[in-house]
């Protein structure tokens, strides 16, 4: 009798030990991923800051002439813009990792003129793109002049900057990134397409590319320090706005399409629009 009980306990202990071992392995994997993520975050942030410091040293030490200094100042501005963009992403990411819903960010809803927003973002990323002789253009003829959309501006801005940054990173040199917009009257929505020519997204990864931390083997090769969070963040923000985001590649071109409804989150209880914020008398 006692022997049977001993055997039973030994069996249970063995099962416990095995599950314990699995947990240890899981924790090790999480720890490894976390270390790699932090290293990549550090790598991404240090690169523009190092460039800014060294450019300033060159100006201070008068190693470059006035004409070159003018160009370098533009580069410093561009690097600072990138650093701010990255810091915003990491802040958003830490909110997501802490499992806070994006709605807890409590951003007010604002009317956004998508064309103007995209022109500003194209200008922000153009200096980075020039390094590879890539032009970013918002198409005048292929961008409908539709109504503004009601959304959380800093978040929508981050969606498009993540897609544009991605397009710049993975475009072939001497190509063009084209941004188009279509207003669809039937469902009162705006579709923005960002087209770039470069690394292709295989059909099997068209969904995966929005998964947390996912990177295609080719993108890992070309840009090892990436975190695979930019497009994940973009998708989460678009979903919060009840829109859609897709990606596909064909004949050398990759197209990201974001569709947002014009009314957006208006009237949804948890969000407050500027119009709704009538001061109490």
């Amino acid at each position: 009798m006692l022997q049977a009980e001993d055997h039973d306990i030994a069996q249970k202990l063995k099962v416990l030990e095995e599950s314990n071992q699995q947990l240890i392995e899981k924790l090790k994997t999480v720890e490894r991923e976390r270390t790699e993520y932090l290293q990549n975050v550090s790598h991404q942030l240090v690169a523009p800051l190092n460039a800014i410091k060294w450019h300033i040293e060159n100006i201070n030490e008068r190693r470059i002439g006035i004409e070159r200094a003018q160009k370098v100042l533009k580069s410093i501005y561009s690097q600072a813009t990138i650093a701010v963009h990255l810091a915003k992403n990491f802040n958003l990411m830490s909110n997501l990792e802490a499992d806070h819903a994006l709605s807890q960010l409590k951003e007010p809803l604002r009317d956004i003129d998508l064309k103007r927003l995209l022109i500003n973002l194209a200008n922000d990323f153009q200096p980075l793109a020039w390094d590879q002789e890539i032009d970013i253009g918002v198409s005048d003829s292929r961008f409908d002049s539709g109504p503004s959309i009601l959304a959380m501006r800093p978040l929508i801005s981050q969606v498009f900057s993540n897609i544009i940054e991605n397009a710049v990173k993975y475009s072939n040199p001497k190509t063009i990134i084209v941004i188009e917009g279509t207003y669809k009257k039937e469902d009162d929505s705006f579709a923005v397409r960002i087209r770039n020519h470069g690394i292709q997204l295989p059909e099997k990864h068209q969904e995966d590319v929005f998964a947390r931390g996912f990177r295609t083997p080719e993108s890992k090769r070309k840009y090892p320090a990436g975190t695979g969070f930019g497009l994940y963040i973009a998708k989460r923000i678009v979903e919060i706005h009840e829109g859609t985001i897709t990606a596909r590649s064909a004949e050398g071109w990759t197209v990201f399409e974001v569709t947002l409804t014009v009314k957006g989150l208006q009237g949804k209880a948890r969000y407050v629009s500027e119009q709704d914020r009538t001061p109490h008398r």
């Binding site: 190092n50 460039a51 410091k53 450019h55 040293e57 060159n58 470059i64 370098v72 090769r221 070309k222």
Partner: protein, 145 residues
């Protein structure tokens, strides 16, 4: 002083290459840039390079992409250069903070400098000292004149 010696900068970040190239060109050196390991190997094979700076995390390029992990491309280059071009001086300049990688690089006799923490003046002094064979003076000497 520089006798137009050639320096090869290997890094996939244009933002890193630009200020270092500006400073070296100001000193009279000829500067070549490679943004992938493939490009670096091609330039090493045909150019009279005296010194290289190497980043760790780097695009290996299409030819090496199958065999080299992009997280340690720089380590591959350090070994390759030590083996094939022992006469070329090399520095590794990277954000990578993994101690075992740094130990491996320094065991090849290649000095590791950390991006973001090392002032450009320090990098320049070290590179110049290797290229000219004259030990560099520290900033402490400044202002005594």
């Amino acid at each position: 002083m520089s006798q137009n010696k050639t320096v090869l900068l290997i890094d996939d970040e244009q933002a890193f290459l630009e200020p270092l190239a500006d400073a070296l060109e100001y000193e009279g050196y000829r500067v070549l840039k490679a943004r992938t390991a493939d490009q670096a190997l091609n330039l090493l094979a045909k150019e009279p390079v005296s010194l290289v700076t190497i980043d760790i995390m780097l695009d290996p390029g299409e030819q090496l992409g199958e065999t080299v992990d992009s997280h340690s491309t720089g380590l591959f280059l350090c070994r390759h250069i030590r083996e094939r071009y022992p006469h070329i001086d090399a520095f590794c300049i990277s954000v990578v903070s993994d101690v075992s990688t740094i130990v491996q690089i320094e065991s090849l006799g290649i000095r590791f400098l950390r991006k973001g923490e090392t002032p450009l003046r320090t990098v320049l002094n070290m590179l110049r000292s290797r290229l000219t064979g004259i030990a560099y003076s520290t900033d402490r000497g400044r202002g005594k004149r």
